[in-house]
């Protein structure tokens, strides 16, 4: 109670004096140890060695928590099978980098002799690559042990590069490469003697992963090492530099891939008898289409987030043409299209990726689509179906009597035990029923006309285009994006102590016209982004307790 009162006062105070987010106190959340995602691993290799080095191997699946893999990264460890894969990838990368084909381009020095150790050169390489991979300067001991091992191996095998390969492999399997280990340090304030903040290096790493989905570059690491991230001014300079980098697109893309559950495309399968058009290329293009659309709109055009739901712009390939029923002129690659005003699609919700992903292998599912949109875009929780539903209700000759999904779902809406959840999910999904299980437009199901008229939280709509409009105007989508982006940025659930900060960020998002890069800047410079509490003692117990208070 007292805490809530404090929060209210704090929130009021903030509004009254109009301070920026940097002044907003936050009790922060625990620092964590986060396993790199497959994308982040590949980015790290690419940043250091360029795109010519092939990273092939199987990564352990990510683990989604509270809707985000970015939060699950703080939970996952490395299984024996996962470690085998990491070690194999490390050897493969090290072998490529030291190969005759690449060594001249990629190594910062070459040995005096290729058949003997050269400790000075090895040390240079380990120091430079190590700092990039481990995202911090290496200690002397860490360098020495690798130089010694490389030297010995070079003697035994009469080959400098075999020794170097060993040293590089040991960096690529190191736990502090595979995990980002955040460190908090005391930063006492008057009245808050136990306050903790991320160390400068941990802050640099969190910043670059948030904005770029990759590790810090040399300039950012140097800024951290030289204490340049301590003052708000120089921190803002670094954040602005990151925000203008070409890597921002990759960062934004990674966030939406996570939010949209796009890793599920890896395991997507469709019944090819029912959907003869479907193939892997089409699914990959549908996924890419949405990401291109989002990045182009939010980053390249710096446009209003809400317009994602109404925009008629659409990047498209020839493989997607049949789904959208439009001619695509380029045989290869992407074409920018603007859908005509009378086209039945507009905006994110009517794109094939969403329809495909949130369907069964052999049919569409208004319920699955509704659950996804409620949870990911409106931040509402849809309860799980009860375990002991009386399914005798559904004694029906499915498709021949109940021809459309609307007919079939009607049963749920009339039954009390089903109604609570299905009235949350189905009305939205019914609006998208003209898109079949792979996202192809249709007007009929089993010969019956599909009726897309429905409603979103009291607002009625007639078709997918109007549904998009309703989303764009929903008071929930802005705050929900803020919440998701913040949770993604810090890689954990937000805490009660951060509610005021979230309200502030929502206000700023509105004031700045729903521009995503501006919101990212606000978050990156906010106190909550840097403030930390000690690591959790018991995984994910703290959240539950917090909710109870």
């Amino acid at each position: 109670m007292f805490k809530n009162l404090q929060l209210c006062i704090l929130a009021l105070f903030t509004v009254l004096i109009g301070c920026d987010a940097g002044d907003l106190t936050s009790q922060g959340g625990p620092v964590a140890m986060k396993r790199l995602t497959p994308e982040q691993y590949k980015n790290a290799v690419e940043d250091l060695f360029g795109a010519t080095i092939d990273v092939s191997g199987r990564f352990e699946p990510d683990s989604r928590r509270s809707g985000l893999n970015a939060i699950g990264t703080s939970l996952v460890a490395v299984t024996p099978s996962g470690f085998e894969q990491y070690e194999a990838m490390a050897r493969s990368v090290a072998a490529q980098v030291t190969s005759p084909e690449h060594r001249h381009d990629l190594l910062p020095c070459l040995p005096k002799s290729a058949t003997a150790p050269d400790d000075a050169c090895t040390e240079t390489i380990v120091r430079s690559f190590g700092q990039q991979l481990l995202r911090r300067p290496l200690g002397d001991d860490e360098i020495r042990v690798r130089v010694e091992a490389a030297s010995l191996a070079a003697v035994i095998h009469s080959d400098f590069y075999i020794g170097l390969e060993l040293a590089l492999s040991s960096l690529l399997v190191a736990p502090d490469f595979l995990f980002r280990i955040e460190v908090a340090e005391p930063a006492p304030l008057p009245g808050r003697p136990s306050r903790l903040r991320l160390s400068d290096l941990s802050l640099a790493v969190r910043l670059s992963y948030f904005l770029w989905n990759r590790g810090p570059d040399e300039a950012l690491l140097a800024a951290a090492v030289h204490g340049k991230l301590k003052s708000q001014e120089s921190l803002a300079r670094e954040v602005d530099r990151l925000l203008t980098s070409e890597h921002l697109a990759g960062g934004v893309r990674a966030f939406f891939e996570d939010l949209f559950l796009f890793d599920e495309f890896n395991d997507l399968g469709k019944d090819v008898t029912r959907y003869p058009l479907y193939n892997n290329r089409m699914a990959a293009d549908a996924r890419e289409q949405t990401l291109r659309f989002v990045v182009n709109h939010l980053v390249t055009q710096r446009a209003d987030y809400r317009e994602l739901f109404t925009s008629r712009q659409l990047p498209i390939t020839r493989s997607l043409g049949p789904l959208y029923g439009v001619p695509v002129y380029s045989a290869e690659g992407w074409e920018d299209m603007v859908l005509p005003a009378n086209h039945p699609r507009a905006g994110l919700l009517s794109q094939a990726s969403f329809a495909m992903l949130h369907s069964h292998p052999g049919r569409s599912s208004p319920t699955l689509r509704g659950v996804f949109l409620r949870e990911a875009l409106l931040c509402q929780v849809v309860p799980e179906a009860p375990a002991d539903v009386d399914f005798s209700l559904f004694v029906q000759d499915a498709d021949s009597i109940h021809k459309t999904a609307r007919d079939r779902l009607e049963v749920h809406a009339n039954e009390a035990s089903c109604r609570t959840c299905h009235t949350l999910t189905d009305p939205i999904g019914l609006g998208l029923e003209v898109f079949d299980g792979i996202g192809k437009y249709r007007t009929h199901e089993n010969g019956a006309l599909i009726d897309t008229r429905s409603h979103l939280d009291g607002r009625s709509f007639a078709d997918p285009v109007e549904l998009g409009q309703a989303f764009a105007e929903s008071p929930l989508i802005g705050p929900c994006l803020v919440e998701n982006l913040y949770r993604y940025a810090v890689g954990r659930e937000h805490t009660n102590g951060e509610r005021a900060l979230l309200r502030y960020l929502e206000t700023r998002f509105t004031e700045t016209g729903y521009r995503l890069p501006d919101l990212m800047r606000e978050i990156a410079l906010s106190e909550g982004f840097r403030t930390a509490s000690p690591p959790k003692e018991v995984a994910f117990e703290a959240d539950a307790k917090e909710e109870e208070t």
Binding site: V78, E84, A149, I162, S170, D267, P361, E384, A398, V538
Partner: protein, 451 residues
């Protein structure tokens, strides 16, 4: 209890020299002919007994209790319609019916409570979390540490997330998603044929070991910075690292010859998806590769997943999956069950019978590979329509190296599935008298099946 040798502290420099300088180690051991001892159950050359193995075999969405459960107990149990496909191998296994996950006041988490209640010994408490370890991990800690792989997980559904094996919530062992992936992991690089005349260890093995030992140097420094749960995760990382070190050590030595081992050709796999015939054929290929992996003693623990929790199996051209059918298909008024959903139950039983036959087809010692295995087939529901975890289906195959009797039907109505888990652990030689949590805690072995 094992004794630990006290070794003198070895400096880093010396250690590296030891591992790197040992390239000539263990090369060229003479080929040892294989003889069985007089009892026919041990390798005479080394005196080592044949390995005993444990595995799980999972099928999703259960069965129809009234058509699956045998009505008579003991050895002459009468075949039921849904057990018909296992007729030829019924004497190779025991049927356990009636055992349930006792809810202990927790909510039934659909498609989770049944399987994790069985494998972890208690109804899971949180909606999204499961507390491990699962049964197979407990057993692999005991018997899986000497082989190249602690355990092998595979999913015939082609999805590496389809795995029920976990040490804890942070370490779910991913499944090999295709026959070829399984084959490559086991018989690809790093595999040494135990029966080959020649043995030349890869000189690079020592380099690999050395790279890993460098990493271990950082452990204490890293641990200091971590909280309790992150330390546990880091510990899991190092456990995995040590498992690989162990693999590399094994590869430096000539493996002892194994009569039952032969090296298969790479599988010729078709499409990988959840269409039933594709799953059947991928399952068969995986079973074959797994059987030889066991015969070649590459692992002693495995988890074979035929279909996932909330089975996504489907028929070509159908709008429904096995799971959605269990909920949406009307019960046939004449037959009294859901015919389309039940089709997948029968296919699951067919696949299980094939799995058992595959292990049984490999001669080992004076019997077959299956005789030295203990395989627990199970599901997450009995009747999937209501997500029931009452009376879950179990089929326990193999003889566990002569420790288990087979051919019986045991009815355990009202009893916890922990009794099954406890018995599995005891059959695998774990020194454990009591297992499970809260209502599911038990000290009651299913003695009827002990030999």
């Amino acid at each position: 209890m094992s004794t630990r040798k006290i070794q003198p502290r070895i400096g880093r420099r010396r250690f590296l020299r030891g591992t790197l300088g040992g390239a000539a180690v263990a090369v060229g051991l003479p080929f040892l002919n294989l003889f069985l001892n007089a009892n026919g159950n041990a390798v005479a050359a080394t005196g080592a007994p044949l390995p005993r193995r444990f595995g799980t075999w999972f099928f999703g969405c259960g069965m129809n209790p009234q058509r699956w459960n045998p009505t008579t107990v003991g050895s002459d149990w009468e075949l039921t319609p849904e057990l018909l496909p296992i007729e030829n191998v019924r004497d190779r296994m025991n049927i356990l019916s009636g055992f349930s996950v006792l809810m202990n006041g927790e909510a039934n988490q659909v498609h989770r409570t049944g399987v994790f209640g069985t494998l972890c010994g208690g109804a899971p408490k949180k909606a999204t979390e499961v507390e491990g370890p699962s049964l197979d991990v407990l057993i692999s800690d005991e018997i899986g540490t000497k082989t190249r792989f602690r355990s092998l997980e595979m999913a015939a559904t082609g999805n590496s997330r389809h795995s029920n094996s976990l040490r804890d919530v942070s370490s779910v062992n991913p499944a090999e998603p295709s026959p070829l992936a399984l084959y490559t992991r086991v018989f690809g690089s790093g595999f040494a044929d135990p029966n080959a005349a020649e043995f030349t260890p890869d000189p690079r093995l020592l380099l690999r070991k050395s790279a890993l030992s460098i990493v271990k140097e950082d452990r204490l420094r890293l641990e200091r910075e971590l909280g309790y749960s992150d330390r546990a995760r880091l510990e899991q990382y190092f456990t995995s690292l040590r498992q690989l070190e162990h693999q590399l050590e094994l590869q430096l030595q000539k493996p002892p010859p194994l009569q039952a081992c032969s090296v298969p050709e790479p599988p010729n796999q078709g499409p990988i998806d959840t269409e039933i015939e594709h799953v059947m054929s991928n399952h068969a290929l995986m079973a074959q590769t797994l059987a030889l992996a066991l015969a070649c003693d590459q692992t002693r623990v495995f988890n074979m997943l035929f279909s996932d929790r909330a089975s996504s199996l489907r028929m070509p051209g159908s709008a429904d999956t096995h799971h959605t059918l269990t909920h949406e298909e009307p019960r046939d008024p004449v037959l009294g069950y859901q015919p389309q959903a039940t089709y997948f139950v029968l296919k699951s039983m067919e696949a299980w019978a094939h799995f058992v036959e595959t292990l049984d087809a490999i001669p080992e010692g004076d019997g077959t590979l299956l005789d030295n295995c203990l395989v627990m087939a199970h599901s997450e529901t009995s009747e999937a329509n209501t997500h029931s975890v009452v009376g879950l289906p179990f089929m326990i195959a193999g003889k566990a190296g002569g420790r288990m009797r087979t051919g019986l039907h045991i009815s355990g109505i009202g009893e916890s599935t922990s009794r099954v888990g406890l018995t599995m652990q005891q059959l695998m030689g774990l020194n454990i008298g009591r297992w499970g949590t809260d209502q599911n805690e038990t000290d009651r072995t299913i003695t009827e099946i002990l030999a």
